[in-house]
């Protein structure tokens, strides 16, 4: 039931975000000449294939880790906990290592912009600060939870002891150390992907015509990378918070037979409940970001190429951000 409510809330928020950002997304419209439409279509297809390959690779990692989890119950769910981060890192690496570029007729005259392209050139500042803050929060929490954890009978630090009561699974060092490594790996994969987006070659041949298209494709790719990395960070941070919260609350509560609460230890109970609530909120945020990244990644960046006449009509009906100004232009729309 809780899962269904979670899914419904995620899609409700995703719908709200998509409606509220529709105008901005509609601004990602580019005009190319009719003669360039074929090259633009080829480029769009290559972008779609790259994005789908990244999603398939991420999905394969989740599936594999699920099988590993089922085969090794003695690992206490560690593969599942690492699944979001490893899947995202794999998807980002496939995304980054797949070359995409508009290739039209090779010209003997080639131009280059003199504005440096940096990994953070194609997104808002908050989009880069958000995953940094999330990564710092994950590492800080993992260290704090590790310090507060206690060893189980097998010597692994995956429980919490309050007074004489011990409860688990708790994100102690057993989960925390791989989690910290995972966060560093994901941060590195994200930086690598952003660097590749920025440093990839500018579209070949007719630079004037393709400059805007080039910028839009880089902007969309940056959105996908930031949403995916932030979303997966939030998802496994949520898992950690929820397990920590439940374990802490259980360890701080004394139950009578029949599940009746006899007494609670404060402030441990409040801390545990706070972790549970924070975990639910963070899980919602992570789910929303991952769904948004999948929607952006599977959207055809040049989904529609229309003739010059209908292009001018559609542009007059849409917002003024469209930079269609060529009389014989065909427009390739991202929305």
């Amino acid at each position: 039931m809780l899962y269904l409510v979670y899914v419904a809330l995620v899609f409700l928020i995703v719908g709200f975000v998509r409606v509220s950002t529709n105008r901005r997304l509609a601004g990602l419209v580019v005009a190319v000449s009719g003669a360039s439409a074929a090259a633009a279509r080829r480029f769009a297809r290559s972008i779609m294939l790259r994005n789908i390959a990244a999603l398939v690779a991420a999905g394969a990692v989740v599936g594999t880790l699920n099988l590993v989890h089922e085969a090794h119950s003695g690992w206490y769910g560690l593969p599942l906990m690492l699944a979001p981060g490893l899947a995202a890192a794999t998807g980002l690496l496939v995304f980054a290592l797949t070359p995409t570029r508009i290739v039209a007729d090779r010209s003997s005259r080639r131009s280059a912009d003199l504005v440096p392209r940096r990994p953070w050139s194609y997104g808002p500042a908050w989009g880069f600060v958000l995953p940094l803050v999330a990564a710092a929060a994950v590492i800080t929490f993992a260290i704090l939870a590790g310090v507060g954890s206690s060893a189980q009978a097998d010597g692994t630090f995956r429980a919490i002891t309050i007074g004489t009561s011990t409860s688990g699974p708790y994100p102690g060092w057993y989960y925390g150390l791989p989690l910290i490594g995972m966060t560093v790996l994901l941060a590195a994969a994200t930086l690598f992907a952003l660097g590749r987006i920025a440093s990839a070659a500018h579209s070949e041949a007719d630079n004037d015509r393709y400059t805007e298209l080039d910028r839009i494709v880089r902007t969309l790719a940056t959105r996908v990378v930031m949403q995916l990395s932030s979303g997966s960070l939030f998802l496994y941070f949520a898992g950690v918070l929820l397990f920590a919260g439940w374990a802490t609350t259980n360890a701080a509560t004394t139950f009578a037979p029949g599940g009746i609460v006899v007494s609670t230890v404060q402030p441990a109970t409040v801390i545990g409940l706070t972790e549970v609530v924070a975990g639910l909120v963070v899980a919602l945020l992570g789910g929303v970001l991952v769904v948004l990244s999948i929607l952006d990644a599977t959207r055809q960046p040049l989904g529609r190429v229309v003739d010059a006449d209908s292009n001018s009509n559609s542009n007059s009906n849409s917002n003024s951000n469209s930079n269609s100004n060529s009389a014989d232009a065909a427009s390739a729309e991202t929305a």
Binding site: S108, R109, R110, S111, A112, D113, L114, V115, P116, R117, S199, A200, A201, H202, E204, N207
Partner: protein, 120 residues
């Protein structure tokens, strides 16, 4: 924006150096403006990184740009011509344009006059 032309007999390194020098002296590239990395220019222009690095090194030797590990390659201050000189050049070009003089002819005249004024 800079453009290289494979059909031009001038070597690509010299084309890049010349265009960047022109843009710095004319003020199109402002003081302290950061230039793209060697790698970015190389992939965009489909040239070897060594070609771009050679052009940057020549510009650095000429005192037009400076390169440091932390802040990358930047245009050095006070390398552009003063406003009066730029305005004179603009008036000169506009006047010759009105008379239908080509760039090549204009440059020939400038070279001759330059030699004459400097006693060459």
């Amino acid at each position: 924006m800079i453009t290289i032309d494979e059909a031009d007999p001038t070597p690509p390194f010299e084309q890049i150096r010349g265009q960047l020098a022109d843009q710095i002296r004319s003020g199109l590239l402002a003081a302290d403006q950061r230039l793209p990395s060697v790698r970015q220019l190389a992939v965009d222009l489909q040239l070897a990184t060594g070609t771009i690095a050679r052009a940057y090194a020549a510009l650095e030797t000429a005192g037009l740009i400076s390169t440091s590990r932390g802040s990358g390659t930047r245009v050095r201050a006070d390398q552009g011509l003063d406003d009066d000189s730029l305005a004179s050049a603009r008036r000169f070009v506009q006047a010759l344009n009105r008379r239908g003089v080509s760039l090549e002819e204009a440059l020939s005249v400038v070279r001759i006059e330059w030699s004459r004024v400097n006693g060459g």
